[in-house]
Amino acid sequence: MRPPDALVLRAGRLSLALPKRGTLVAIGIAVLLAAAIVASVAVGNGRTVGWRAVEALFGGENPFARRTVHTYRLPRALAGAVAGAALGLAGCLTQTLARNRLATPDLAGVNDGATVGVLVTVLGSTTATIGAWWAGPLGAIAAAALVVLIAGGMGPTGYRVLVVGLALSVTIDAVTELVLARQPIDVARGVWGWTIGSLNARGYDVAVPVGLGLAVLVPLALLASRRLNVLRYGDETATGLGVHPGRWRLYALTIAVLLAGLAVGVGGPIAFTAMAAPVLAARLAGNIRVPVLASALTGALLVVCADTLGRAFGPVEVPVGVLAGLLGGPFLLWVLLSGKD
């Protein structure tokens, strides 16, 4: 008997069971993501738009267009892709751990913790208008630790953690608002866009370190994916199959918190991506395995598209967080109302 949807390769004592549909879907989304990044580069203010921008991207001669594309647009698109991938994977992990499609890092208070962390670095500095990316993961870890502490441990389904996280995130959110309200209006306005999720003025300075973080965390998540598949059966069956639930839940949750923190460090608490990406990825790649890679790619695709859309209409850009919310609200309804397929 073969496992479902698997291409089995064997050589001597070694054997691999590669997901067929999952791999095809991942490749497909990666192609779409590349196309979305090119489209994102081609959208913006000024004259470097459309074909002119695409030409500059692939080595056109016009120095002004090249500068616009390579200094601003492409770094921003890549920063969006990195933030989206981190959110998508973080959501995939938390949804799998809680066995609930609504369980995202946002609900566990992690995003709000990261937001406060980054906000502190902005307001603590006299010159900075955008926060330091590294404060994101620190804030996220602090919030997660606080949530787990108050909840009194992880609990078997993570339900308690979610409830405590929900309460705490409302509180932290209020703190953010309070801090903003006490700032001069111009400072507050500059930071406000970021607290609802924005990629404005983001570039390689954040995309590179956070991309390196992803380069470590994504393989770590992939290494745990076989155990994540088994954790979906609940603690008793997972234990029976030789997977220590507490140990692997902590492992996966730590990765999820770090990813969510990194994402917030890049683009602020962009809404809905962490919830929508894994659900979409599972619809595309099937339910046989936890869609680790597909969730990351889908998250990247969603954020790049939302950011592009936010810059496509008119001179005033709409923050990516607002657009993600606009698109995510109906999506949430769809997830809640559509029956299990």
């Binding site: 073969r2 054997s15 076989r226 059966y233 609940g234 008793e236 234990t239 997977v243 339910n287 397929d341």
Partner: protein, 272 residues
């Protein structure tokens, strides 16, 4: 492989649920643990599967303490079917049974020939080979339980623990599942320990009966020798006759009607 429980005591919070329980389960036999609700039988099973940490005593498998083995190594020797197992959304029978091979797999041993053979044999032994590509959540209760047993079979462990494997099934499916459990013990020389509610089912399908009440073992032995009206009264506080089934001589428990709650007599008798 022998499963040995020695002097096991356990508690749920402040409440003591097991007091110095001893149990030996041997290869090729089915041991049934029976007793009233809350008597500690499930906790005993959970301690043996390392789902509950005992306060005292130990559980050994083939001579080694289960606490001294890694989760994966233990899962290669001991399989567990929880009372109400949950499966991932939309999983197929094939996917379920394939996951039974998890403790035998690794990063570069994802689906060996051994995995392939064990999973196929499990599907066939449980009689669910024709259901392989059906979704688990769309099967009937009896079919689903056989699929879970197929997963346990695929795990190919010398010891199998089952927590109320027939509790949600109708009579026909109960017999089907219990016969399958017997075949696992006999055909694979496995050590099977199950918690069951139905005394008659336990008497017919188990080689050994362990009766528990208040966290202690009251009786332990061959069902026909152990199962008496007296034991039933001590376990459940009811009067019952223990008869011998006309077909195979297995013990059958028939509770006596309590005159006080006998509805038929009150209907028939005119009011005084």
């Amino acid at each position: 492989m022998q499963l040995l429980v020695e002097g096991l005591s356990a508690a749920h919070g402040p409440r003591r649920v097991l007091s110095e329980v001893d149990l030996t389960a041997s290869p090729g036999t089915v041991t049934a643990i029976v007793g009233p609700n809350g008597c500690g039988k499930s906790t005993l099973l959970r301690c043996a599967a390392r789902l509950h940490r005992p306060d005292a005593g130990r559980v050994t498998l083939g001579g080694t303490d289960i606490r001294r083995r890694t989760p994966r190594a233990l899962a290669r020797d001991l399989a567990l079917l929880p009372q109400q197992p949950t499966a991932p959304e939309a999983i197929t029978v094939r996917g379920l049974v394939a996951h039974g091979r998890h403790p035998h797999q690794g990063l570069f041993r994802q689906w060996s020939r051994e995995d392939e053979d064990a999973a196929r044999e499990a599907l066939e032994a449980a009689g669910v080979a024709d259901l392989a590509d059906r979704r688990l959540d769309r099967l009937s209760g009896g079919q689903r339980q056989r699929c879970w047993l197929a997963m346990i079979l695929a795990q190919a462990t010398p010891v199998v623990l089952l927590d109320e494997p027939t509790s949600a099934l109708d009579l026909g499916h109960q017999v089907e599942v219990l016969s399958l459990i017997r075949r696992i013990a006999a055909g694979r020389n496995a050590t099977v320990v199950m918690v069951v509610h139905d005394l008659s089912a336990a008497a017919r399908y188990a080689d050994r009966l362990v009766a528990m009440a208040d966290g202690r073992v009251l009786a332990d032995g061959v069902p026909r020798a152990v199962l008496t009206g007296e034991l039933v009264k001590r376990l459940y506080g009811i009067e019952a006759d223990v008869l011998s089934a006309p077909g195979d001589g297995a013990s059958v428990i028939v509770p006596r009607q309590d005159p006080g709650t006998d509805t038929s007599s009150t209907v028939n008798k005119p009011t005084r």
